[in-house]
Symmetry: C2
Subunit: 220 residues, 2 copies
Amino acid sequence: MPREVRERQMCDAAVRVFARRGYSAASMDEIAELAGASKPLVYLYLNSKEDLFGTCIRREAEVLLAAVRAAARPEDPAERRLWNGLRAFFAHTAEHPEGWAVLSRQARSHGEPFAGVVAELREGVVDVIVGLIEEAAAVAPDAPPLDGREASGLAYALVGAAESLADRAIGAHGPDGLGGGAVPSAREAAETLMNVAWVGLENLVSGRRWPAVREVPSGG
Amino acid sequence: MPREVRERQMCDAAVRVFARRGYSAASMDEIAELAGASKPLVYLYLNSKEDLFGTCIRREAEVLLAAVRAAARPEDPAERRLWNGLRAFFAHTAEHPEGWAVLSRQARSHGEPFAGVVAELREGVVDVIVGLIEEAAAVAPDAPPLDGREASGLAYALVGAAESLADRAIGAHGPDGLGGGAVPSAREAAETLMNVAWVGLENLVSGRRWPAVREVPSGG
């Protein structure tokens, strides 16, 4: 069997074990067994549990980003790019719940270099959304100058909202972290987010704001 | 010194060390030294690193929830409750960045019973937001019947957006996880969220939806 195929099988097994046991408790014995390989071969190919974890995180981040990028085609207008990108994000995370669990729960809490991969993935997605907002602002009639801080705040809010809905869809908010059960479809999750995101984006671009901001006393 | 005071000092020290090193790498030696206590006394009072971690997580979750609850006073209308609750959330997490880092990054990835405490905290906040939505729906004129799935989807989206903005405010999206730097104020973060949240909530209650949902082909 070619080495790439073997390595992919080992990574598949490792993602499942990391998602279920957590990084610290995951054992190379279990990963090797699940991959149908000997433990020495896993070490020979992927070096160490730490390296294997890093390889898994980078792979899961790359395939997720590739799925979103393929759906958000540059020739489409911003609104359709966001809608298609969101559906691809929720479909991919629902189809790869263990990969998403590793990115969402494990990668951020075990220091560098793992947290950096996820931070980079998130920054990449935030940049894409800021680009959508700028594009929407550029074509909006009579739009006031775009406030970069507001645009980036909205982008971070959307990314967090999408992460939370993806966690919910794989049952990750439940105590066992990989629950399943009756959860919204990818389309439903994308609709929920478009209902707030696109309206928020249109408001931002047109200069409309939540009205009470100016009514409440300042400070705090 | 009374035992409660000593235990509080130990917890304060533990939260700092867990936030900076992560749960696995945190050492009881460092925690004891930072607390100005002997290691045997830390073990006598708080039993084990695992128990100490659990105590810290429960304490940080309780004080955060208490701060939000105190700000979102039941006698206020839903809109003001959300605004005040959000400002309290962002102010508290910005003032206690290490407590927030432990809740947001560490608690979810080290299995039970820790993940359960955070899941319970999140469910508690989601329930509060669903309550706000129901209240807003009850007073809205000509509102169609509220869809419970949509309300809960919006609540999860808001909670995720708030978590992401709180992470950003403490610099947690950066590679070192406790960055600092130029970040939005609590008030700015709350405004960002009200701009999308309240509009989203009003749309949900009034039955308005992102228009393109009905235009795009179904499936997916």
